[in-house]
Amino acid sequence: MLLDGRFRFDNFVVGTANRLAVAAASAVAESPGSVYNPLFMYSGSGLGKTHLIGAIGHAARVANGELRVVYIPLDDFVDDFHLAISSGQADAFKERYQAVDLLLLDDVQFLTGRRETQSEMLRIFNVLQASGRQIVMASDRAPTEITDVDERLLTRLTGGLIVDIGVPEYETRVAILRHKCEERGLQFEAGVLEELARLPLGNVRELQGALNRVVAHQSLLDQPISAADVRQVLGALRTPTPAPAVISDPAAAPLGGGGDEFQSFLSDVTVAVAQSVDSWRVRLGARIAHWQAEGFRTTMLEQALALDDPPDLDALEAAFADAAARLELLEAEVVLLDAALAGDEVFRDPQRLAEAEAVLERAQAAGDPPPGPAPGWTMATFEQAESNRMAVRAVDAVLAEPGVRYNPLFIHGPTGTGKSHLAHAIGNALHAANAEPGPAACVTAEEFVDGLIAAIQSGTVEQWRARYRQAGALIVDDVQVLAGKERSQDELFHLFNLLHQSGRQVVLTSDRAPAEIPELVERLRSRFDGGLVVAVELPTRELREALFSRALASRFGSVDEGVAAMLAEPPLASATEIEAMVERVAAVADATGSPVNAEVVARAIGVRRPTPAFIPVARDTFFLDLEKVVVDWPGVDGRIVEELG
């Protein structure tokens, strides 16, 4: 409707107050999409912005008849949008606007609070601008004064050129009135238009209204109105509105130049500012203001402002937004660990993201360290034999190059064959070597699972993870316990990857090979298999004898020769059982009051009748039947003798 030719540049009177706006509008009309995109014009009511926006459309279409030009006030746009949504024609709506070459949007101040429309408009703007098509907007206020507008849309609105149209000064108002009279073929006595222009009217529309009244009065009375009559005629018709401050009466101007000097100066400054301010800096400035309002330090963006050439703003803004989001996340995590770190400056500066990550890591590391290896289990106390030689060699290789050669080391074998001893020995050796980055974490799979459950219960899973992540090595005993425990397997999987990738040693033990552990997720199984899988066999008789010798010596000092060999005879499986047997021997020795000798050992072994050569002469007939002696009690006090009859 505005493109019917009534609103054109040649019938728009240019003065100092609107010179910049007209210049910008003409430039846009001459080459839409190539300069000042978008062009945002704002002014008070009745100062010609709708005329100018219409003139742009008209001139652009005159220059290029094939140009698709759409003029639409925002309210109509909203109605159009709602209609499209309600009729299921949303796509057609988008396509219609996205096909426009020159979009003239009036009264955009009505965007306030219309979030859906804003989103849609943002999408349309993105499409149009990306394809170099022109957007022109008019509003009764500056973009930054339109409240409740999506920040991204606001950035688009302010990304091109913003010009305001001021109140015309006296000379321009006279020119406007003369122009109107010429258009309409009106004649007035000298001084009438000048008198009209001196009236304290707020805008051009009111000026036209006053002119209309004078015209009506003149035609009604059928006699010309004089300049002196003007105020009287209008006074009878209307109550004058207060004059805008910038309009001053030349007659009352002080000596030297006339009262519009300041207005003229202001107009020149406006032109100079508009030509001097870079649109990309304006956009960046808006982002800086936004992030500062969010409480972030914006040094990163401010540095970009100082560049001579515009940087990649989209990438810069995205990087800043990502960093800010990450910082918020880090702060949320760190507060769980240490409330005193809430609001720490480091979480407000995207340039210090790495520092913030480190703060979180330190906070996580400040928790209890994971359990370490059992101190007594070292390689020095490990009895080597043929049955565990392969495993021992693997351990030696691991200790020579932790995390490099065999990672993970998976040791499997029957219970009590020294797997845990070996695994902990690695932990102790790494610790003794001050291996970085920290002590080894040594846990049984059961402890691992229990710890995770407790962390889930208390909502401290992240801290629980952090304890393990900082470990210099990870040793998990009896991983077969993880069978069917999916979450634990998941956690171990991620932990394994983290440690493995950072070159930290992982040692696992199990009573069976990875392939034989049921309900173990494949990704974990393949990782277990990916290092070195070694088996430890049940100890041979020689190994058992050596183990007994050591244990007896440790417990009793010197003992009779042959005792260790006697004890080693039964196929006891584990070091644990050996220890238990030694304790049993001690108990029998205590009970019988005799030193550790073959007889005591025979009684301790109990279940196996020793060869006659070892049967001593019984001193106490009550215990003659060794099979009746129950020795599996932890203390002597609670011992029960059972008469089997």
Binding site: A142, A245, G256, E261, V269, A274, S276, T298, L305
Partner: protein
Amino acid sequence: MSIVNYAAREITCKIVYYGPGRSGKTTNLHYIYGQVPAERRGQMVSLATQTDRTLFFDFLPLDLGTISGFTTRFQLYTVPGQVYYATTRNLVLQGADGVVFVADSQRRQLAENIESLQDLHANLASQGVDARTVPLVLQYNKQDLPREMIMDASELDDELNFRGVPAHVGDALHGRGVFETLRGISELVLRKLTATADAGAGR
């Protein structure tokens, strides 16, 4: 000093009127004050004291409103022209975005004009500022005086305007040339925005 603050959407220009004593600097400000609508100007402050150590200058803040989305303010200062107020002059000059040199066109004041102009350059140099980079316009004031008493613009140009900066003839008492001068310096200052590519996120 930053002129434009993109983050706060503010433009603030500090313009200093420099020149020998009684050349008409304060008169310039008074005239501007009289022309600017009341809501656009702040209180004009004139500080006077008897000791050198206290500030002695005129200050007129102008609020030009929102221009291209920027809240635009001009701060106009005068320095005390008298030779013995050297410290104050240097202080007021600090951070100036532009300088208006108001010369007294009277023939007998030529030496004072030259001395003051040299003083301006010396003060800028003492602040580590290259005088050639500071926007500067000249105003040859008091051109309303009888011809025989004054030098004309071309004579003054020969004597004072060795940098070839914009010069305006003026009669500040009656307003002639006052706004032309202000307009001239403002445009120079604002044009420098693009040339300097100031970071301007905070002053």
